[in-house]
């Protein structure tokens, strides 16, 4: 497939004859350069992710200022325990992922596989809780565009009977839920991609691909996973916490 195989043979410079492992691509001088390059590329990709989520955070800030009562009422309908549980799951999964990276760096295959499985389980656990929450919101007619009903926000909910908004403001809870679903949906999409990638990496790690010094894929996947965790670390207070007492 690679048209440079011939070139790669001739291009090996004498200085790295002691270190030319099979995973070193021909256009890099040595493993260190390849690894740094991959890490830098990953960081630039995360930069794009910051801006991708940034657009939604920006919208959230603006609309929260505009429709403050609706955002408070919308936030009141979320389960704080679910948000906290999910935050905990993700933080532990970040820890296990960090340990997986450590296992790859120290070339221990079994621990690497163990930490990867744990990370995967925690990620799937997060998605299950999230699915439960979405189902709940569907049942309570909170999905804008599909089945949204302002009734609960006009008449007050069980937990917050004082949340009685005039109809025009109650309608604005749709904006809150639009952003809620867009943000958690995009986040969950990233989680699903993350878990799938992890499964793929697991298969290759099973064969020992990442415990011979070729840590870049595990390391860069770790960066991705932690980034997704950070997004949730900010979503959690914005969506669940800051309106509790307003």
């Amino acid at each position: 497939m690679d048209s440079h195989t011939v070139a790669a043979q001739t291009a090996i410079t004498p200085h790295d004859e002691q270190a030319h492992p099979p995973f070193l691509r021909h256009h890099f001088a040595n493993v260190a350069q390849q690894r740094e390059t991959a890490t830098f590329g990953m960081w630039l990709f995360l930069l794009t992710e910051i801006m991708f989520f940034g657009g939604m955070f920006c919208a959230y800030l603006i609309y929260r200022n505009w429709y403050y009562p609706a955002f408070v009422a919308g936030s009141h309908t979320l389960h704080i325990w679910a948000g906290t549980l999910n935050t905990t799951l993700l933080i532990i999964s970040s820890f296990t992922m960090a340990m997986a990276v450590h296992a790859a760096e120290t070339r221990q295959r079994k621990p690497l596989l163990r930490w990867m499985v744990l990370t995967m389980i925690l990620g799937i656990g997060f998605l299950c809780v999230k699915a439960y929450e979405w189902h709940d919101e569907w049942v309570e007619h909170h999905v804008p565009g599909l089945n949204f009903s302002p009734a609960e926000f006009q008449n007050g909910s069980k937990a917050y009977p004082d949340d009685k908004l005039p109809l025009d403001m109650a309608e604005k809870a749709q904006v809150y839920f639009s952003l809620y679903f867009a943000m958690t949906g995009m986040h969950a999409l990233h989680m699903i991609i993350g878990v799938s990638l992890l499964a793929f990496l697991f298969v290759k790690a099973w064969g020992g691909a990442y415990t011979t010094g070729h840590v870049a894929p595990i390391e860069n996947f770790g960066l991705y996973w932690h980034f997704v965790d950070i997004v949730w670390i900010f979503l959690y207070p914005l969506l669940y916490l800051i309106s509790r007492h307003q």
Binding site: V6, H27, T37, F52, G55, Y63, K172, M186
Partner: protein, 553 residues
């Protein structure tokens, strides 16, 4: 200082036996290649295809506007045609034009690397581009889309029943292709430079691509999320931009222009890089004020993120905010002017010759200056309120994008054609094409400035009869321009087989890419180059030529 031009005698030049073009044969060797030069060629073919589709749309627009009434095209068809023209030209031609073709081909060689940092991602970026392109073609085949290239809400989300979702996803995908290209460039420029290739020895072409890549990486994701929200709003009915649910349509414009204003710098900066190379090569002088030109690229990239709301002065944003954005817009004129002045100063006392790339570059300087200055008019709020949504805007951005960027692109294609293919284009007919393009361009778009100033609005199929004379001029110019663009397609294709053999360095340019054979080897350099000279050091080139034993082929 010796600046006497002695171009090499090409009659003795031969094509090298092994090059990236003949290293491997067969369709598979192209479609699965990791070679940045082959991917550049794939891009060159695909963007040329889209350029001529977009051009056909432009031809339809100009034919319709030949008469004051909506006779050739019905009004809604006209809307679809100008939308297709805008989307294709912006996202499928201008954004990838120079970076994905010439940049892809030259940047690894210019920094002295064997390939881009991520060859597979480079190939992936082309496939994503093709997928996006196919989606866009589907949009056209299945009835078109009529939002205008800006997808403005709530028009795009509520009032149209055309293929907005497909078009939006096509642009979303094209954006990813552009992100991957930009990401690859940044990493390559940081991490893959040859020994001795310091930042201030990089050709200005690399600097301007670096700046454009920053914009691609930081700006495009905002467009992506905006389009995702538009698509969700259209399909599910969430209410982020929908005023009936409490959303603010202006927020869409903020987010859209947060990308799309920097996007015009994504389009123009690589072109400016081409001009720097061409100006220096054909006046045989180091670019005047190298550091200033290098940093002006970065300055344009940074300022680009602070000015977007000048597209929205009449849309209902706050007056105070508009004032801030109007003032900040003036800042962009400074680095752009630095470039123009420095290129002009490069010519001073240079040994100027007028090969085709240089003619296009001169075209660029004149037309871009007009386009840029009218941009300053439009950036000042009072003028903008009079001129926005008129043909003045249309003329302004065509001067920058077509007069500027397309001229730069053609300049670059001619300049590096010998390097890419190993053969020269025919000089006589290509000079003619450059002149025809320039004349046709002026004839097409200059009348539009006047039309806009007189108040003819854009995006309408019909117009008051008193505007017809100028519109006829414009349409006549467009047909001249069409000839100007068809000619290079014909003679460049012809030159693939019949062009004169170019030899390694037909222009006697100093860049690293000119020190290797044309077309280059797959791995670019037989051995990693060690850079000891500054960019555009013509004395170094002279002494190198004096020392080396002439070997050909």
């Amino acid at each position: 200082m010796s600046t006497i031009v002695t171009l090499p005698d090409q009659s003795t030049a031969q094509l090298p036996k092994v090059s990236y073009l003949n290293q491997e044969y067969g369709l598979k060797s192209w479609l699965l290649t990791g070679d940045h030069k082959r991917i550049a060629m794939l891009y060159l073919i695909s963007i040329t295809f889209f350029f001529f589709i977009g051009g056909a749309m432009a031809a339809l627009i100009r034919m319709e506007l030949l008469t004051p009434v909506s006779d050739l095209l019905a009004a809604d068809t006209y809307n679809k045609v100008f939308t297709a023209h805008g989307i294709i030209m912006v996202f499928f031609f201008l954004v990838p034009s120079v970076p994905a073709t010439i940049g892809n081909f030259c940047i690894p060689i210019m920094v002295g690397a064997k390939d881009l940092a991520f060859p597979k991602i480079n190939l992936l970026s082309w496939y994503i581009y093709i997928a996006a392109g196919i989606m866009m073609i589907c949009v056209l085949v299945f009835g078109g889309v009529d939002t205008g290239w800006t997808f403005t809400t709530p028009l795009s989300t509520h009032y149209l029943n055309t293929n907005v979702v497909t078009a939006g996803l096509a642009v979303f995908l094209a954006g990813f292709s552009s992100i991957f290209t930009g990401l690859n460039f940044i990493v390559t420029i940081h991490r893959m430079r040859a020994p001795g290739m310091t930042w201030f020895r990089l050709p200005l072409f690399v600097w301007s691509h670096y700046a454009a890549s920053i914009l691609m990486v930081l700006g495009t994701p905002v467009l992506a999320i905006t389009l995702v929200l538009v698509v969700l709003e259209r399909t599910i009915g969430i209410g982020v931009f929908d005023p009936t649910k409490g959303g603010d349509p202006l927020l869409f414009q903020h987010l859209f222009w947060f990308y799309s204003h920097p996007a015009v710098y994504i389009m123009i900066l690589p072109g400016m890089g081409v001009i720097s190379e061409v100006m220096s090569t054909f006046s045989r002088k180091r670019v005047f004020g190298y550091t200033a030109v290098a940093f002006s690229s970065v300055a344009i990239a940074v300022f680009g993120f602070f000015v977007w709301a000048h597209h929205m002065f009449i849309m209902g944003i706050s007056n105070y905010s508009a004032l801030v954005f109007s003032l900040l817009t003036m800042l962009v004129a400074v680095p752009s002017a630095i470039k123009i002045f420095n290129w002009s100063a490069t010519l001073y006392k240079g040994s100027i010759t007028f090969e085709t790339p240089m003619l296009y570059a001169f075209g660029f300087i004149g037309l871009f200056t007009i386009g840029g200055l009218t941009g300053v008019f439009l950036g000042s709020m009072g003028m903008d309120i009079h001129l926005t949504e008129t043909y003045f805007i249309v003329a302004h951005f065509h001067f920058v994008m077509v007069g500027g960027m397309l001229m730069a692109y053609l300049s670059g294609v001619h300049f590096w054609w010998p390097k890419m293919t190993g053969r020269m284009y025919p000089e006589g007919v290509s000079k003619l094409a450059a002149v025809i393009t320039f004349v046709g361009f002026i004839l097409t778009f200059f009348p539009q400035f006047i039309l806009g100033y007189l108040g003819m609005p854009r995006r309408y199929a019909a117009y008051p009869p008193e505007f017809q004379v100028l519109n006829v001029f414009s349409s006549a110019g467009a047909s001249v321009l069409g000839v100007g663009y068809l000619l290079p397609l014909l003679y460049l294709t012809w030159s693939l087989k019949y062009g004169k053999i170019a030899g390694a360095n037909p222009w006697q340019a100093t860049g690293l890419e000119w020190q290797i054979q044309s077309p280059p080897l797959t791995e670019n350099f037989a051995e990693t180059p060690i850079v000891t000279h500054e960019a555009y050091d013509y004395e170094w080139l002279e002494s190198k030529k004096a020392r080396e034993v002439p070997t050909v082929g």
